[in-house]
């Protein structure tokens, strides 16, 4: 029987596929394309910032670059990254289903994403947007002359892709689990996808409304967010962060899930604290909605709202702490192997811990007043989104690459890339914490002399980081042609997805698979 890749190789069969695995691959290709675009923008920015005066590009170009970088990375890469690729590919496999509950909706989700993404790109090609990915009003509505409406339309459309995927995942997890796949046997990656989907379904509509309002202000001269026309700019921030703070958890939760899969496999022992990790994913999804105001401590919201939001922000850190604690304990009494996915996972743990803990500085009211809108914030969220999510994404890609393609990648190069990215990342972003505390604001394309030294280090780190990202791109492509065949279970891993051949057959499972307790390591009869 042929696998899903070779069942039918015509282009039409790919463009009209309803197979979740193929759609996962389509998403993978698409977001890699967007990642490269966002990465080029980041490189140009770091080059500009290597010297204090603004000498490489003009201020307007720089402002367009960081908007492009933020928008593309957040909406066209990070949000779909793990859910739409690995999630799409693995969710049915992991729960013993033949596909997602709504396969055609899944395909529609990709087309919608592609269309919205291209529209967003189009807004950049015709001249770009200079508002920052946050679109703060009234700058974005009244003052800028850039193509805000086009970009808002693009992101508005991409939002529907998010909602469709979330809906599909929620229904699939509820109704398509194999008969013995109880909630307490669900892989932790599935738990995090479930929590992520909740956020996608409930928060994204608010972003859609907000973008519609922005476009309307520009088109019709109505001032919902413009005080000159009787509106309130803080209302925009409330609505925007009601989506965008939970969106940060869309960007990290699936990463946490991936790590929870990789760690027990390479520590060769069951995961520590399964129920706490699963529960904390849901807790993060719910608490994540209660803290958006911590983006507005110095923005003019009321003092009391600030106090409440600060308090809740500390509480949302607790479930993340539970995860780090449980992962650490998973290493205890293990038999640890250092394959590429494990190196990425360990890198994730280090960087996510730093990212999470520096978040506490920003949750602390008085300190946040000093640090908000400085490079400290930039460093903090890059530790979470890049140090965390991107490391997890790459770790997951290395872990499941043999499953997805049936091929092995060169292990040594994989390890080198993991180490390179870890070092390059720290080189880029650690100095930015100091820059922030020294008072260098964000979104500055020219800055005072005294910050130059740290910026040079940061830019140098970015070079390493870029190299680190280029490597996997090269050897993954190479492995497709020359890689050795992987076999069904190259890591000797537990989990239903490893029970089918690599690459999996078209409908995943011929018969309903037998489900065991999750993370049965060491695998009896395999060691």
């Amino acid at each position: 029987m042929k696998d899903y890749l070779y069942e039918d190789v015509s282009l039409k069969s790919w463009l009209l596929t309803t197979d979740h695995k193929r759609i996962g691959i389509l998403f993978l290709l698409t977001i890699t394309f967007f990642f490269i675009i966002g990465g080029v923008a980041a490189t140009l920015m770091r080059m500009e910032l290597a010297t204090a005066p603004g000498d490489l590009v003009s201020a307007d170009v720089y402002n367009r670059l960081f908007t492009l970088h933020g928008t593309v990375m957040v909406w066209l890469f990070l949000i779909p990254s793990i859910p739409a690729t690995l999630g799409n590919f693995l969710l049915p496999l992991m729960i013993g289903a033949k596909d997602l509950a709504f396969p055609r909706l899944n395909l529609l989700s990709w087309y919608v994403f592609l269309f919205g993404g291209l529209l967003t790109l189009w807004s950049i090609i015709i001249g770009g947007v200079d508002t920052g990915w946050t679109f703060y009003t009234p700058y974005s509505t009244t003052y800028t002359n850039s193509h805000v409406i086009m970009m808002a339309a693009g992101i508005f459309i991409v939002g529907f892709s998010s909602i469709f995927s979330g809906l599909n995942f929620i229904v699939t997890v509820h109704s398509l689990r194999a008969p013995e796949m109880t909630w307490t046997r669900l892989p932790l990656f599935v738990w995090t996808l479930y929590a992520t989907s909740l956020i996608m379904v409930l928060a994204t509509p608010i972003l859609s409304v907000t973008l519609v309002l922005i476009a309307a202000e520009r088109l019709f001269g109505v001032g919902i967010f413009d005080p000159a026309l009787g509106g309130d700019p803080l209302l925009f921030q409330h609505l925007f962060w009601f989506y965008s703070h939970p969106a940060v958890y869309i960007m990290i939760l699936p990463g946490m899930g991936v790590i929870s899969e990789i760690l027990p496999c390479f520590a060769r022992r069951p995961i520590f604290g399964y129920k706490f990790i699963a529960g904390s994913s849901l807790a993060i999804a719910v608490f994540g909605f209660l803290v958006w105001g911590h983006h507005m401590f110095a923005a003019g919201q009321s003092l009391y709202a600030g106090l409440v939001f600060s308090f809740l922000s500390f509480l949302v850190a607790v479930p993340s702490g539970i995860k780090v604690f449980s992962w650490t304990a998973t290493l205890y009494k293990g038999s640890i192997r250092f394959d590429t996915p494990m190196l990425y996972a360990l890198g994730f743990m280090g960087l996510f811990t730093i990212g999470g803990l520096t978040g506490l500085f920003l949750a602390t009211l008085a300190v946040d007043v000093h640090l908000t809108d400085t490079f400290f914030v930039v460093a903090h969220f890059h530790f979470i989104m890049v140090g965390g999510m991107l490391m997890a994404y790459l770790g997951g890609l290395h872990f499941w690459w043999p499953k997805m393609t049936g091929k092995l990648y060169p292990e040594t190069l994989g390890r080198i890339s993991a180490v390179l990215i870890f070092l390059g990342f720290n080189g880029t972003f650690l100095p930015q914490f100091i820059l922030g505390y020294l008072g260098m604001p964000r979104r500055y394309y020219a800055y005072p002399e005294q910050f130059e030294f740290l910026n040079v280090i940061s830019s140098a780190g970015a070079v390493l980081l870029a190299l680190g990202y280029a490597l996997p791109l090269a050897y993954f492509t190479w492995s497709l042609i020359k890689g050795r065949p992987a076999g069904a279970d190259p890591w000797n891993a537990a989990g239903l997805e490893w029970k089918v051949s690599s690459p999996p057959p078209h409908h995943n499972f011929e018969t309903i698979p037998v489900v065991e307790q999750p993370y049965r390591y060491p695998r009896p009869g395999h060691e």
């Binding site: 909740l198 409930l202 409330h238 009601f242 909605f289 709202a305 409440v308």
Partner: protein
């Protein structure tokens, strides 16, 4: 059928009530209360939430919870800031 008819009648009655209240200066909370009652009737009887599985009820409850978050926290800021 009979339940549906009763629900429809009460909905029309409530509609009448809103319009009458409007004649005598319909307050915001009053309007909200009537609308919520109507919505509850539609959800419970027309959409059969009453007879749906606990899971569906949970989804409905979740939306309510998230609405409370959205409105509660945003309005809390406005009330404490502007003192309406």
């Amino acid at each position: 059928m009979k339940t549906h008819l009763l629900v429809w009648l009460s909905l029309m009655l409530l509609l009448g009530l809103t319009v009458v209240a409007w004649q005598y200066h319909l307050g915001f909370l009053m309007a909200l209360a009537i609308a919520v009652t109507k919505a509850a009737l539609v959800i419970a009887f027309f959409m059969h939430l009453r007879k749906e599985s606990p899971l569906t009820k949970f989804v409905a409850g979740a939306v309510l919870f998230w609405l409370l978050i959205l409105f509660g926290f945003t309005l809390a800021d406005y009330f404490s800031r502007l003192g309406f």
